[in-house]
């Protein structure tokens, strides 16, 4: 699963070093290198990895370490702090409130899992007592409305969409207005996949956003995304200002470092992860647990409060 192998490797590198009797600078460099390789293989952005390497080396400052200090602890803490800094969103995610309409708009790259995750999330809130519904504002992809309709029907969630209206802005507005009138509490708007290289698609996203004025915009990211994660998520952030991230396909084998890079680039929290193709395959995401998992818990957990 996502991040587990990465955590294991990082932990192994740190404990190999701290356990070795001969804790010299060469061994320390080797550890930093091994951690960086693990991050690269997990698809963490290369520039982030480079700055993490510099930061750890600067913080530990091996040459200057006084003979008396607990080197092991200094190193562990530096690694931990830098990794936490890497994934710390510095921001709290939106949570819907009962008794009022909460409009949530989904955005993301093509095929990342938006439509699937929309229904999962609607069902999630429905199961927690929110009156939930779905709006299909993807008028581009072949069969997009059928896909959403079939998912919504299976989950018994009311939906809105059109087979004839080709303007996604109009459909989105109509759907949201209708459901607001009907006093729905969670109104989820699905949109087509898009990418930063096509300005028209980004403009369209902004227009949909202006039409439905979402309380939260969620960016959906595939756990297997590589080095484009940072640039794409940054561009989505600049245009759509999303406030939460959902990582999908975490049941796959990818390590999810692209997602970490997106968090780092946009300072946005991950709120849910998709763990399969079925309706119930959605888990709430806890950043703290994420970091612990990343670090495989171990004795570093004790360093959390400082």
């Amino acid at each position: 699963m996502v991040l587990q192998d990465l955590g294991r490797r990082i932990n192994a590198a740190v404990s190999d070093l701290t356990r070795s009797s001969n804790l010299d600078e060469k061994a320390f460099d080797a550890m930093v290198k091994e951690i960086c390789n693990a991050l690269v293989e997990a698809d963490v952005n290369i520039k982030l990895v480079a700055s993490l390497r510099t930061a750890i080396k600067r913080k530990v400052n091996f040459k200057e370490l006084a003979p008396g200090v607990n080197k092991k602890r200094v190193i562990q803490k530096a690694v931990y702090d830098e990794l936490v800094e890497l994934v710390n969103p510095h921001d709290k995610a939106f949570t819907p409130k009962k008794g009022k309409p909460n409009v949530i708009m989904f955005v993301g790259l093509q095929g990342s899992g938006k439509t699937t995750s929309c229904t999962k999330l609607a069902r999630w809130y429905q199961a927690r007592g929110f009156k939930s519904c779905l709006v299909c504002a993807d008028t581009f992809r072949a069969g997009a409305f059928d896909q959403l309709k079939q998912n919504a029907t299976k989950a018994k969630i009311p939906y809105y969409g059109s087979l004839t209206q080709t303007d996604p802005v109009a459909v989105a507005r109509e759907g949201v207005d209708k459901f607001k009138k009907e006093r729905f509490e969670v109104i989820i708007v699905d949109t087509s996949g898009r990418h930063r290289q096509e300005a028209d698609l980004f403009n369209e996203m902004v227009q949909i956003q202006e039409a439905v004025k979402p309380d939260d915009t969620i960016m959906v990211l595939d756990a297997s995304i590589g080095q484009q994660a940072e640039a794409q998520s940054r561009a989505f952030k600049d245009s759509a200002g999303f406030g939460s991230i959902i990582i999908t396909k975490t049941d796959g084998a990818a390590a999810g470092g692209g997602a970490i890079s997106a968090v780092a680039a946009t300072r946005t929290p991950i709120v849910f992860i998709g763990t399969g193709e079925h309706m119930l395959d959605l888990e709430r995401f806890q950043p703290q647990a994420f970091i612990s998992k990343l670090l495989g818990m171990g004795d570093m957990a004790g360093l959390v409060e400082h």
């Binding site: 095929g111 899992g113 072949a142 069969g143 896909q147 990418h195 595939d222 396909k249 796959g252 193709e277």
Partner: protein, 319 residues
Amino acid sequence: SLGVIGGLFRNVVGGKTLTKEDIAKSMKGMEDHLLKKNVAREAAVRLCESVERELIGMKTASFTSVETTINSAMESALSKILTPATSLDLLRQIQSVTSPSALSLQKPRPYVISIVGVNGVGKSTNLSKLCFFLLQNKYRVLVAAADTFRSGAVEQLKVHVRNLRELSKREGGEVDIYEKGYGKDAANIAQDAVKHATENGFDVVLIDTAGRRHNDARLMSSLEKFAKLANPDKIFMVGEALVGTDSVQQARHFNAAFGAGRSLDGFIISKCDTVGDMVGTLVSMVHATGIPVVFLGTGQHYSDLRTLNVKWAVRLLMS
């Protein structure tokens, strides 16, 4: 950019015999450069090792800097890995099956292509683009909806076939869909589709399949039966240019999924328009398997399918 590597050697010019130490820093710079292009680390390391082996002990040509020597060695390593051993002339191969020469004693039959890959990479869309290409070449194509799992998968193909039929009025060719709704076994549907195509004089069958994780043993193992029953002439795997390191295992696991004696025939690398110059997935997938890239997906429209231009790819990777 590669400028970093050059900086290390600005003053070294021709006539120097290279040592491992001479090039160590530059090779690290080169590795980082490839990683930035989204080449999986495993592939980047191997490429750098091969370039390093080639360079050690070599004399740089006069007035040629070490930088240029390393760059051109990497350029040729990349071209070498991306250039297929034999070029795929798909139309010719189709022709030889649909209208076999009298000498071959073969009966004419439809040419079968199936498309596989992980979830959401662009299988159905690129299948439709391939269909458009075949229509432009005046073929009669049957699209088989063997993704019987994902919501809307059948309707998605129906919409594409409707659009393509409209286009075929201008482009030529003919297209129809074979579908049996949801829930049925994909291998059986594929087999039935091929039979239907044979009986009805179709030239090509394009079989869409459901996306599957390469680490899902159950879904992966069903591909073996699929290959047996559908017996495709070509199995193309769609890999996504956006994917990072996972591309290596995706390629390996799919390549191994069809049973003894059957492997993938080519990759379609989709979403190349979404990655700028970070086209490293091309390298990673070929590195992992030795299977060639046959097409690139470069957008969401029917005409956004290209054959791989190795020079173009190498230029982006070295930029």
